[in-house]
Symmetry: D2
Amino acid sequence: MKTGIVNVTGYAGVELARILHRHPEADLVSVTGRSAAGQRLGDVFPHLDDVELAIEPEIGASVDVVFSALPQVASAEACVPFVRSGVKVIDISADFRLHDPAVYRDWYGADHPAPDLLEMSVYGLTELDREGVAGAALVANPGCYPTGALLALAPAAKAGLITERVIVDAKSGVSGAGRGLSLTTHFSEVNENVFAYGVDGHRHLPEITQELRRLRPGYEPEVIFIPHLIPMTRGILDSVYADFADGAFASPEQAKAEVQALYRDFYQDDPFVRVVGASPQTKQTWGNNHCLVYPTVDQRTGRLMVFAALDNLVKGAAGQAVQNMNLMFGLPEEAGLEQLALYP
Amino acid sequence: MKTGIVNVTGYAGVELARILHRHPEADLVSVTGRSAAGQRLGDVFPHLDDVELAIEPEIGASVDVVFSALPQVASAEACVPFVRSGVKVIDISADFRLHDPAVYRDWYGADHPAPDLLEMSVYGLTELDREGVAGAALVANPGCYPTGALLALAPAAKAGLITERVIVDAKSGVSGAGRGLSLTTHFSEVNENVFAYGVDGHRHLPEITQELRRLRPGYEPEVIFIPHLIPMTRGILDSVYADFADGAFASPEQAKAEVQALYRDFYQDDPFVRVVGASPQTKQTWGNNHCLVYPTVDQRTGRLMVFAALDNLVKGAAGQAVQNMNLMFGLPEEAGLEQLALYP
Amino acid sequence: MKTGIVNVTGYAGVELARILHRHPEADLVSVTGRSAAGQRLGDVFPHLDDVELAIEPEIGASVDVVFSALPQVASAEACVPFVRSGVKVIDISADFRLHDPAVYRDWYGADHPAPDLLEMSVYGLTELDREGVAGAALVANPGCYPTGALLALAPAAKAGLITERVIVDAKSGVSGAGRGLSLTTHFSEVNENVFAYGVDGHRHLPEITQELRRLRPGYEPEVIFIPHLIPMTRGILDSVYADFADGAFASPEQAKAEVQALYRDFYQDDPFVRVVGASPQTKQTWGNNHCLVYPTVDQRTGRLMVFAALDNLVKGAAGQAVQNMNLMFGLPEEAGLEQLALYP
Amino acid sequence: MKTGIVNVTGYAGVELARILHRHPEADLVSVTGRSAAGQRLGDVFPHLDDVELAIEPEIGASVDVVFSALPQVASAEACVPFVRSGVKVIDISADFRLHDPAVYRDWYGADHPAPDLLEMSVYGLTELDREGVAGAALVANPGCYPTGALLALAPAAKAGLITERVIVDAKSGVSGAGRGLSLTTHFSEVNENVFAYGVDGHRHLPEITQELRRLRPGYEPEVIFIPHLIPMTRGILDSVYADFADGAFASPEQAKAEVQALYRDFYQDDPFVRVVGASPQTKQTWGNNHCLVYPTVDQRTGRLMVFAALDNLVKGAAGQAVQNMNLMFGLPEEAGLEQLALYP
């Protein structure tokens, strides 16, 4: 199986290269990058020194699947020709996640370059749509924050247990902001610092809402989503708070027990989602494709709380993309993704 | 004015020493510490090399005010004799914060050693009870998390704008956990990591609830308080979410404007609380006594969000203690606390 | 092939478990640990949740090779019975590194528990003694600092190019200090801090000297070795400075070119030592078994400078131990160690 | 006394503003900055919210002294008119540090814009030329690395104790690289990383050499200076290694005792240089103007080692600039600089 990466030079791109290089069934045959075209991949990224590829201006070989790690808008434009020519595409950017072109325009400030493809694209949060992904020609790989938030909420939302009022308070390492330079990712500004950003509306919000809505007909969630930047490189923790629908449970004790059973049941066949019995730590997922989910119920107020931890560049980006590729090509879901987390 | 510090060897204690050493009106004349008794303060803590004091087993000089930075229970026991002998006491520990001995027992697992003093102690969140503090013989200095959470909620709660349902999602640097050793504060465990802790109930919760209740007769808040540990040394960010009472505002736009005006008005005479117009960063308070508060209203869901940033060792501990001392002795509130934050 | 780990609960121990679990030829069948005996490994270390083993008080199965990750002295005591009964042993501790019992006593303050084994133990810096390791019954796995320092110095020392005056200025992440608690590894003490330690003599010094001496008969190096602790979890950078012997080179230009050629030649068949053309970064080795070596010559003073970067827990401990195991059992040297570094 | 800052918007500039705002004798009356001209200083830098100044395109008020925090070349151009018009100037940039225009051109790749001023400028390492600074019209504030390196070497060099062979291995936090964006200061690249840079020659080297030479007629040092970037915001540690001249001491024991006495004596009247008795930590100087110097002698090799720790933005930049200003205007040397270090 031949694979290519469009825009290998961002953090999601190099992470894809790292994973694909060691994938037992996939061959990485072509990588592109504008700024570094012509250079050896291992010269630009010494940790990829074993990957014998030059960075090209365009995908230069015949491939079975293309991953695009371009920024939005540019990514859609790069993906379209591949989709139209029958090459499978997994888009790491946000371009094919929102199915409504009007919503896309609202949040990204541009008309979608290929609105017809929005209908056929599959939102690739693997655990929530394994069949859709397996049959997809174009997968929209989810955002890093929505991956955790949706895995944290899906069992409860699907079961109709919670009201529409949901709060997602997320904490992220800095690599999620990419390799592009900005004062917000300048070391001396971020180190020893924490702050909320995107307080007036972050682009991952409509994704969360759209996918929650799909989980249960008639569910119209009203989500507050507030991301925070914290001084670490990798990792996202989504802390999710929701109210149970009236009468969902007789008592907080019962709620806690039943919710935990529901979650374990929901994810019992998912190799990468672990329902854990204690507050998860992002370090427990460093470099691997797991999402650790801890559902619990506040015994004083009877409200649902779920904590989800993952590595934003793996399950939140490149790892999930490879997981999706595995499904699309009938490979074992875990192929190339068996690596344990690095600790400490 | 002569001051003493009981248990100078923790982080709150050395921070008190740092501030008092440069205070224009206060003399630091005695410091105690069990493990290091007999040593020169500057030998144990080189940054305090200019402070010419030896660490004593007991406060060895006549003092006008004693700060206790002992852990709970031990702190109450150390404070009682000073209070009974007429020396003013500012207790940094939690021992005199909860006025109900039964609640104290529930959360601290011990009977309060001096329940009679609980009635006379004043909860020293300066801005919310300046008169009480000024007249107090015994001040219970607030916890670091409650300081931010209460300053974030007070104007709205006092005005009766919000319902009882409140969520405080807090992020803290590691120094709040003190200088005592534990795996949770071991560098390799905390670095590149984030997680929620105290999920089943953190001791700062009853403080928050008690003080919110005092702000408005009949207000019975049901608070979820979840602290998170993040890889930095100093700083707390409290992200607070609450629902407005029915009919509080005609629209989210109006709510935002009125809430911001309300907060500015509420804190207009407070030198250390700044109502800011953008998401505050803990780095903006590094080493000084400010609390930056940013109230806003989510325009999609119409819910209140407030972000409060402070230095947990200054406004969240030693700085607020000195601010309280200033009031108790009729000094300018800012004396010894004028230092700007260190940036970057 | 069956493997066991004595004292799995330290950082080197869990890193061994992580690597061995994914090793294509080795089975991890038994792990021990005093404090956590009886618990499931994955309950104590969630990142090892896939490893189905309980922590035992003693190695409880028949094994072909035992890794000991105990502290010194205790480690020797644990290793001896295995060695005597014919089980191959790889000792991560310092106990079998120094061949002279008197030197051992000087540096470790204890008589060696099995001085007869010191003669048969092989110092397992793989690249410098591949044959010795392959035939060894007992391998003394090198310290993290010496691994980098010796790889940085070996080609020049062996070729007789340098005088006895050598300086090794090393910078290490905190995980090298282990999982045991101490003020020196307390987050708030180490974060935003750097300092030299072991200034009067660090235990890795005699290792460096002993092995340099073995490289060339008659070479009597006088090494200054100063480690520094820096605020990161993994990674060591050894910055090495040495003087060329008189007449070694005609000019600094020539010296630089010839030294770089010498190093490339020296390590040309070593899969894990990369002679690089620019200053290496420890991040380029995060989680993998590489040591990046950059030799150069200061053009103003004509002195040799070599920079060596590695992950102290992999090439500096568990990875090199597995590399040694591979040689001892005739496996491909890279088996189980092919993982690329994680970046960023 | 009226002061102005040219280019307040870099890290050295804002640090100057922070210190001058609280200086008992100096008034900060004008600050400039190209990118932010027209904005309120406190709006751009919230920690300076108390400073009531707008950022101007040019110094807009009559001032007694100007600090320039511009990059090199631009700084000289900005300073010249002030010097010529009789305003005292303290240049934080490198422009007036090297007295030889040819050396300046070699290292900065540009002709010096005002070579005549190089003769009158005084290298402002306060402790080494207090008289020169006091009488200066133009002070060249030293670089952050040379400040530590020179304070570490001065007593030994001046006394003629050491040979010309000197190694300075320096470790620096990231703020020394300024507020300008680059991949080298991008959070995800620097965090969990350490590496040497400027290996082929760093611009602080000729400063170190020039000033060492001035300490003792005939001394011609051959210095290797290698800086390393480490993941912290503030702080520099210079680790210095040198050889004693033949016959300087009878034994290493004697050398250690005499050297420490010599250093204590040398700096006995210097309020900001502390000769300490153990390896200093940069955290012990966080935010204050101290340089901690620890001289010792390796007892195995008999070589001199000195460790010097300081805050690169205070004693390494803005603090030393204010210290120099104090001398130039006959103020107490410590005015405005009494703040203790922040710990932890």
